[in-house]
Amino acid sequence: MKPVSGDRWRGVVERTWRPAALLATCLAIWHLITVSGLVEAYLVPSPSKTFQLLVDKWSYLWGHTWVTTYETILGFVIAGILGVLVAVAMVYSRTIESTAYPLLLFAQVIPKIAIAPLFVVWLGFGFEPKVVVAVLMAFFPVVISTVTGLKSVDTEMLELSATMGGGPIKTFVKIRFPAALPHLFAGLKVAVTLAVTGAVVGEFVGSNEGLGYVILQANGNMDTPMLFAGLIVISVVGILLFLLLDLAEQLMLPWHSSRRGAAVTTLLAKGGT
């Protein structure tokens, strides 16, 4: 329960008007730049032209959006499951931790765009190499956040558990894992935005469908309105997936105190990257 406070809608307005105003300002600046003639129209298309294109070419974009979304979600889910499993293994075994960490770090620092061509060579032009790149991008934050979460559990809680005689499995299921969930969700939210990047990077390297392909094509044709439209759609996909996870978090962890409609703020903080 929260302290009783006025109107629920007022809270929603309170939270959304700032980001909405910021977005409107950005659009206005974009518009002003294009009408001022400071920049050639073929370099930066006007917002109206871009949105017009979004509407006109919607059926074309829609198909490619699906492809990218599909690769992203598949990569994200695989990274999520693998990441949690690896994290659990690392927390419960010193040997596994010390063995896996260097490998993990190596997989993280290696530039994905540089190894993506290799996956195309190995796996062909289908969706598989894109999913692999998405997994590679999303995996690391999931592992790190889950390890942190599982280790963050109160030692007194674990000692208490020992005196209750529940054994390691019950201790994990009832105490350790739930305690790690807030950290896990933080990692998943970072991971899903990275998975989008991974899928698009995979498409850049070798593909004939997906939003990465759309952007590459538009680039080749000097079709800047289409390029902008592609960028916007990619961002929207990322934002929607992020918000979906945020919603899941709010539903699953209503007890978590750091949750007070922070979705939009977190989102804005990440918006720049």
Binding site: M1, M157, T163, G165, K170, W255
Partner: protein
């Protein structure tokens, strides 16, 4: 079963807790700390024993030894007639911080004990409700820990420690974080619970008044490495009304004596 107030010397076999020449050394990379020098202590079944001593002298360590969460460097601990070799399940433990699961309601936090032990759910539920009633938590069963006051959280921790009707209850500064008034209320409640259940209690506390009000005996420990400095038999009636007890000459004498032993103004009272 009740042996409260027995004046006969009890042998090891009948003790609820027998600590026998125990010492504990902690070794880290650079230092070696002897937390407990050489401590022996017998606690009779149903007895309430308070443990006081300077900060960092090894009180928490002593309780961990009894529960089996920690192994002694030498000596042995016997709990309910069985030597302690690993974490024991036949005890209830209350820590200084309530240590509640923040995603579980008060009632579900109490029932964690039952789930971990695989107790019969219906029976455990009934017992939890009784304890909730007894500790004045009724009406807050479904509140989450962050919606409870510090005193209520401690009550939940107490209920959880009592759910499985342990024969030995270990409490490590359970009321340290509470304000003076709530603490007094909790003392009165704990006293009543102890009288009703006949559980053996080992209570570590920094409050001299609390240690005397609740206990049959108060164990005063020395600075680290801890040894038993003196054992004070509390000469108060079994039935202890709070303000009446505070006003008694025996109470004043005992607290003054313990304060002397601790050598300074250690208590908060």
């Amino acid at each position: 079963m009740s042996t409260v107030g027995m004046s006969v010397t009890l042998g090891t076999t009948t003790s609820a807790v027998a600590i026998d020449d125990v010492s504990v050394r902690f070794q880290s990379k650079r230092t070696e700390v002897t937390a407990i020098g050489q401590v022996s202590l017998d606690v009779a079944p149903g007895e309430f024993v308070s443990i006081v001593g300077p900060s960092g002298c090894g009180k928490s360590t002593l309780l961990k030894l009894v529960s089996g969460l920690l192994k002694p460097s030498s000596g042995s601990v016997t709990l309910l007639g069985e030597e302690v070799r690993g974490p024991r399940h036949d005890i209830g433990f209350v820590f200084q911080r309530a240590a509640l699961l923040e995603w579980r309601s008060a009632r579900k936090n109490i029932l964690l004990q039952a789930e971990m032990r695989g107790m019969n759910a219906a029976e455990a539920g009934k017992r939890a409700d009784e304890l909730i009633e007894m500790t004045g938590l009724a009406g807050f069963e479904n509140a989450l820990p962050h919606e409870l006051s510090g005193g209520m959280q401690q009550r939940v921790a107490l209920c959880r420690a009592l759910l499985h009707q342990p024969r030995v209850l270990l409490m490590d500064e359970p009321f340290g974080a509470l304000d003076a008034l709530t603490r007094e209320q909790m003392n009165v409640e704990l006293h009543r619970v102890w009288r009703e259940t006949g559980t053996t209690v080992l209570l570590v506390t920094h409050s001299i008044a609390e240690s005397v009000y609740l206990a049959n005996r108060v164990i005063v420990l020395t600075q680290r490495p801890a040894v038993v400095k003196e054992v004070i038999e509390v000469d108060l009636p079994a039935e202890r009304d709070y303000s009446a007890t505070m006003a008694r000459a025996e109470f004043a004498a005992a607290t003054a004596h313990i304060r002397d032993l601790l050598g300074a103004v250690t208590g908060h009272d």
